[in-house]
Structure formats: structure tokens, C-alpha cells
């Protein structure tokens, strides 16, 4: 299946930015490619919407990959990948707890850190640290979609090399 995505190289990992509709397809492809170790799923409030960042490692050759997808505030639904990597189960629950991102297909999506009765998703930028709504906060307009590039053929990555020098390039 054709996956529309943008690929870039950031330090020592491949970063794929993908449309939420294709997120699941890309994850299946990565699982088939042997990315077996789920590092984390992070939720992030981008100001215009919510971003889910999935980070994976391949134990065989220690290749690292990051998958990002953006969803709007109104309907933050992302397909769950717990069946591919059971280790993201609590991370998805945490992202739901903190940001309200709903993972379709998650076996047990409920709050993990806060109490079940809470209505607050505290890591949203429209709350201050005390959990109170910021006055006058409005979401930013959704950025212009960049042209999707066709996916490159997957190639085995070399071992991670000296990161300090790569860090130097970025500054």
C-alpha cells in the first residue's frame, strides 16, 4: 500500500511525518521491517493540533525511527498500535490522559495517572500549570500541508556513530 509521508533524517534517526489515515499502514510496514522495540509514544500539543510521536528501535541492527502524525483538536483520533507493539499500551493511555488523544482500537483506554473522574487533559497548551484555562487562548491555524514525497525504499541503516559531531552540525 502506498503511504503518503515525509521522510527526514534528524541526528541518528529517521523521522517519518505521516497523515493519520496512513499512520496505521506505516506502522504495519515498520513492524514488518523488524522494528520490534517500542521506546515511547509521546503526545504533543502543537498549538494548531495534537501530535503523536512514536519511537521505535530495531534490536537487530539498532536502527531508530520516529513516526509523527498530527490530528486536529476537534477530533483527535489515532489508530492504536498496541497489537503491533504491546509495550505502547501504557504510553497510549498516558497520551490520552494528558492530552485527550483517543487511540481507536486500544484494549483498555482509560486514564492512567489522573483519577478517572477528571475532565482535564492537563498537557494541553490552553491550560496553565495549575490546570486552569488560560484566558483568550485560541488554537493557531493549521499549517499549510507540505507536498508529500513518495516513500523511499527502506534500506538498512548503519550503526549509530559519534553523535557529538552530528550534534555540532545541527547548531
Amino acid at each position: 500500500m502506498e503511504v503518503r509521508m515525509k521522510q527526514e533524517r534528524l541526528f541518528d534517526e529517521d523521522v517519518y511525518t505521516v497523515h493519520p489515515e496512513d499512520y496505521r499502514a506505516l506502522c504495519e510496514r515498520l513492524a514488518a521491517e523488524g522494528y520490534d522495540f517500542p521506546r515511547a509514544i509521546s503526545g504533543l500539543d502543537m498549538g494548531y493540533g495534537l501530535r503523536v510521536t512514536l519511537q521505535l528501535t530495531r534490536m537487530k541492527d539498532l536502527a531508530k525511527v520516529t513516526v509523527r502524525t498530527d490530528v486536529p483538536y476537534e477530533d483527535p483520533v489515532v489508530p492504536s498500535v498496541t497489537d503491533l507493539w504491546p509495550g505502547v499500551e501504557w504510553y497510549e493511555r498516558e497520551a490520552y490522559d494528558m492530552l485527550g488523544i483517543r487511540f481507536a482500537g486500544h484494549p483498555d483506554l482509560r486514564r492512567i495517572l489522573l483519577e478517572d473522574e477528571w475532565a482535564l487533559h492537563p498537557l494541553l497548551k490552553r491550560y496553565d500549570t495549575g490546570g486552569y484555562p488560560l484566558p483568550g487562548w485560541e488554537p493557531a491555524p493549521w499549517p499549510d500541508p507540505e507536498p508529500w514525497t513518495p516513500p523511499p525504499p527502506p534500506e538498512p541503516e548503519p550503526e549509530a556513530e559519534g553523535e557529538a559531531s552530528e550534534g555540532g552540525e545541527a547548531s
Partner: protein
Amino acid sequence: MSTMSLEPVRGRTDEMIVNMGPQHPATHGVLRVVLGLEGERITRAVPHIGYLHRNHEKIEEARSYPQVIAYTDRMDYVSGTQNELPFVLAVEDMLGIEVPDRAKKIRTMFFELYRLASHLVWMGTAMLDLGAISPFLYTFWDREIILGIVEKTAGARMLPNYYTFGGVRRDVHPDFFKDTADFLDHMERRMVDYEHLVLESPVVHARTIGVGVLSKERAIARGVSGPVLRASGVAYDVRKAFPYDAYPDVEFEIPTSPDGDTYARFWVRFQEMYQSIRILRQLVELTPKTGPHKGKAPARIKPPAGERYRAVENSRGELGVLVVSDGTDKPYRVKHRGAAFSNLQIVPDLFVGAKFSDSIAILSSLDPVFGEIDR
């Protein structure tokens, strides 16, 4: 489904729902596990966390970069400076700060000292969970020595807030290397006693061998890392896989065990302590006694917009941090990847089918720390 919330099953009288924690002596803090017990056998287990949720990630968004370091300290509070390192490394990467060689080595020494301290606390509390009182006191006495060494240099015992961007906050105390060498001599003698008390004890064998077996594939798929993963036979260690600081300069091995049971997790932690002693011995020799302890860092830390994930191998596994910067002096988002958080996910897998007493041994072999799990 074992992960669903636990409701008593209607008409089922042979199952007892027991609530373990948050105040329970063996939950290493404030874990709460709701257990379905059939006699002594666990039929269902649902862990509940969040009793120590301190909104780290939200508060760190409102603090400047140097202030965040003090907050990261309080995550895995047993292993002190280890938590600061991923954040410091990520920001250094984004800013391109060069770290002097000596600073790297000092950082690594503190890192390994705290690994020893953390494993000592683990050993004491694990043996306490198994019912032996004395090892707890022995390990805490040794830990006091480590904290004394740290305190002389950093000024605080547990949460020293010692690392900074480009190195460490201040130069080490003149006695540091001598004290460390003395401590290592002492520790090597003590390790013999600990082996007798823990690894060679027939009671420990009876309680841990073959209990809570975690297969290799399951461990990887569950995102488990650290000693728990290595006890299942996977030689994944961030220190070797993605080396940082002075780890490329020292020789050490990654102990692994193919068994994956509770005893293997005990054994791997023991071998890690030996490796830590070995690393520290090399670093006491290798580290220059004088020289810069800090590289050039900008007075105002303002990383360019972008994001960076860095991970270190702390006492519990891969401790990562994803720093997202928007170009201001405060991080836009700091996401911590807690090793204990991932490791604790396997609690339902390992608990179901085990005896109630086994669950205590299994939990202590996972060594959770709730500052990092709940954040």
C-alpha cells in the same frame, strides 16, 4: 482480559478481590495492584499508578532549561544524577556544546556511583520483600558511603543537581578519587558477603528460580529495558548501543542471562554491580586529576527550534527524554521515557498464574521507582 478494570464476577465465590497498595510494604512506593486471588493463586491483576503524579512534564514547560535539570533529579530519586543526563545530552546536541573529556569522565563516574547506590537499594528492599531484614541494613550502610562521596563534591546527597550543559557544575572535591578508590576496595569485599546472602541462599533459590519467567520476544515487544530485558537474554544496553559520555573509553561487558526468571534478574543486577566497579576502577585511573570540568556553554540556553531524543542506560533501563524546543529559553515540551514505566507494564503478564508470594518477589525484581513512573 487481564488489563480491564477488576469487577467481581457475579456468582463467583471462589475469587477474592484484594487491593494491594498504595500503602503496602512491598510495593516500593505507591503502586496499587488490584488482585483477583483464588486461594493463593493470582487469577487477575490490574496495576493502578498515578499516586505520585507530580505533573513534571507540565511544570517543566514553564521552567527555563537549567531549572528543568533540578526537576529531572526528582524522577528516579534512587539514582540521583542519572536522570539529569539525557536531558543535558539532548540540549547539548541541540546547541552543539562541546563537553571536555574530563567532564565526560566525571559525569560517568557519578553515573556509575549512583548505579551502585541504586542497585544497593534494590538489593536491600528486594531481600526485605523476601523476608530477610539484615541485607537491607548492610546495603544502606554502603549506600551512605556513596552518598558521602557525592555530597563532598556536589553538596547534596540524593538529588545533587550536579550535571549542567557542557559538563558538571563544579570541580570534584580533592578527595574524590581517593574516596572512590577506597570505597571500591570496600565494595569488592562486601560483594562477597552479598553473594553469600542473596545469590547463594537456598531460600532465595526456592523463591525465585523459575518464577515470573519473561520470554525474550515478550520482553522486547513490551518495551522492557535494562536488567529486566537483559535477564531475558537480550544484550541491549544503551551504554554500548548508543554510547555517550566516557563509555567508549572504558571496557565493560553486558551481562545477560537466558533464563528470564526472577533469579536471572537478581543475577544480572549483581553482575552489573561488578561491571560498575570495573568501570569505576578504570575511570579512577583514566580521569585527569586537573583540567576543565565544564565546556563553553551560552549564558542563556536557547536551543534552536527542533526536537531531540536522547537516552541513557540508568539503573532501570533506557531512560530517554524527548525535548521539543520552540527557540525560546523554556522547553516547549519535555517528554520522559521512564524505564520503570515500561518495565511495570509486564506486571499483569507475570502476575497472572503466579502465587501471591511470588508476586512480591516478581515486583521486587522489576525494581520500580514511582517518581519516574508517575512523573
